[in-house]
Symmetry: C2
């Protein structure tokens, strides 16, 4: 059976590495078109939805929040100040570095650890396993996919295998 660690940390790291490659293609696309890459960073699928920048920030928060909640350790606060592709790449690198610093054994027993999150401004408490499978993983993949979808929508030549990564 996959451990709580295996079901979270390496899954997040893998997808964040793929997201980094996807962002590289986005930046290269903007430069090749002679457009300002910062415009792409601010692109949204619709005006009241988060822009590319925020999709990366939320994917980062999802991954580090899961790492912290499942190990019962402090959740490092990353300011949402990124406005360029290079800063978003740093945000991803910082998140991966944090995840790599977590020890697998710190996740032992986390399936039954009580986790509380705020959903629609209401505190909801659940087991670590429910938190990971019902909230953290779906939410994380939502933001990684939406980042991909924003770039794909704008014409960046990314393909599904950039999202899945090498198998």
């Amino acid at each position: 059976m996959p451990s709580m660690y295996e079901t979270s940390v390496p899954v997040f790291i893998r997808a964040l590495d793929n997201l980094s490659t996807i962002l590289e293609k986005g930046e290269a696309f903007a430069k090749a078109k002679g457009t300002d890459p910062s415009d792409l960073v601010e692109t949204r699928l619709i005006e009241d939805m988060d822009p590319l920048r925020a999709q990366i920030q939320r994917a980062s928060d999802s991954a580090k929040g899961a790492g912290a909640r499942l190990t019962g350790t402090d959740n490092p606060s990353f300011a949402d100040e990124e406005t360029s592709f290079s800063e978003l790449q740093e945000r991803i690198a910082k998140t991966v570095s944090y995840l790599k610093g977590l020890e697998a054994k710190a996740f032992d027993g986390s399936e039954s650890r009580e986790v509380t999150i705020n959903s629609r401004r209401v505190a909801v408490t659940m087991s670590g396993q429910d938190y990971l499978l019902k909230f953290a993983l779906p939410n994380f993949f939502f933001h990684v996919t939406t980042a991909y979808d924003i770039l794909r929508h704008k014409g960046v030549e990314v393909g599904k295998m950039d999202y899945i990564g090498q198998l």
Copy 2:
């Protein structure tokens, strides 16, 4: 530790149920606007990307493919003939029904079962656990999220909690 069953079947069913609600909102939106719901079913984020219809079909395939490969049983073939919201709802219902018919104990040991998939037309063999965590789950959430993103992009009033569902 979450079992292979717990990490797959209930996760898929939950997200497919949420996807059904999201599609209901999409259909209601088209009707309220007085537009043909079938046009929304054919909507894409960009011309060479799969339309809404195909995102549902691929989410369905991802979920049932994982169920079949992890249990070493036949993968039921569902023809990709859906062209309306009601047919897409049937596709989701059929997929959920198939998943509900799988027994949890049929997944025992599937973490080390050899699974072969075709990626970029090349057969890739990996353990059931790698297949689930590196391919099936990310791929499944990709298609569910992209279905959401297409509807959101067109102005359908869906929110992230429709995607996450009740916690």
